[in-house]
Point group: C2
Chain length 218, copies 2
């Protein structure tokens, strides 16, 4: 895709907000929107919106604004929401099970296509509707099912090896829940969910007497 490799994280977050607002208006029957109107709905300036969208080519027309159908289609494509992402969960402990049963995943276009665990007592069992495979089958199953994303919910010590095996099997992106930095070089994309660092920042906010949501900063 013709995307420059240095799109700022906050831009990507805003694209998600744009898509949500655009889809809401499509459902209400609206067909076009100006950057000013979109901005007012989201508390952003029209300049910010035009700048964000300009990363991905020309969408709007002066005086007319954005047509919602092509805009939402292009946003869905940019955000990878025009497809179902097959996902493997590695580590079927409490956290893995919580992830598997996390409702929004399916709604947002992610499918748990395979689950793996190193514990022989878990293998073959069915948890949250998914049969648990052994680690030995990881390469074969991931390839067969066309899994592109891997969720790493194993203990810290096992995380890097799991990451390497997922990547070797063809996985392109890893969502890492283990409290360790995965080294993947340029073989894959990695995003981390780090409970501790969120809690640390929350404690800082409380220490400093800062109130309100700190989501926006993240």
């Amino acid at each position: 895709m013709p995307v420059r490799p240095s799109i700022p994280g906050p831009t990507i977050k805003r694209l998600t907000l744009y898509l949500r607002e655009v889809e809401r208006r499509q459902m209400e029957g609206q067909t076009r929107i100006s950057s000013g109107e979109l901005g007012r709905a989201l508390g952003l300036t029209d300049t910010q919106i035009r700048k964000d969208l300009s990363w991905f080519g020309q969408f709007g027309q002066a005086g007319i604004g954005y047509l919602l159908d092509p805009l939402s289609m292009r946003l869905r494509e940019i955000l990878g929401k025009d497809r179902i992402w097959k996902t493997a969960v590695v580590g079927a402990g409490r956290l893995g099970q919580a992830i598997m049963s996390y409702g929004p995943f399916a709604r947002e276009g992610f499918e748990v296509a395979a689950v793996f665990d190193a514990n022989p007592e878990m293998v073959g069992r069915e948890v949250a509707g998914h049969r648990i495979h052994s680690m030995e089958d990881l390469g074969t199953v991931v390839k067969e099912r066309g899994v592109l994303l891997g969720i790493v919910s194993v203990p810290r010590e096992a995380a890097q090896e799991v990451a390497d095996r997922l990547i070797d099997a063809g996985v392109l992106g890893l969502l890492n829940f283990a409290p360790v930095r995965l080294e993947v070089g340029d073989r894959a994309s990695v995003a981390s969910v780090d409970f501790s660092s969120r809690l640390e920042r929350l404690a800082f906010q409380v220490s400093a007497g800062l109130k309100g949501s700190i989501d926006g900063e993240d």
Copy 2:
């Protein structure tokens, strides 16, 4: 605390990195460090480091650098790491259980002081070493135990009410795992762990062919 209410999120993240590096060097017997040396270790400019620390008063001295003992003590204080944070987990389902048994929490100075669940079948049971209390006891137990942070691991529909009840009981900070934005006004601080949005961003990275870690952006 004399902290200005607009400290940027990235600054707070870097403070955590500074503390980690400073503590590592203290363990090795080092007693002082220049902003340049700290910068090289962390891949930051000395200007950035001096600017970050200047939010919190004067630490270093020209030509001498920073004394590690007072620096680490002040960083720990700023980051709220000079105390144990008593935490309540509300929602003892799979996710709540995973959170309770998450090792790093205890290491980082967080104590699970109470657990609550709305399901009568869960109440009174012991999970991951914690006895589960009924929601009716939330106010009393939170106050008695001096809980300051609340972890919201309930379904989306219940999250706002749980947040309100925790705040009414005296909780100052909420870590929200429910896929919904909590409205707390200026009554508390809120941080969110949103699995979906991380996975969405990962999918975007993969779509766009961007490799490597995207942790740093968040």
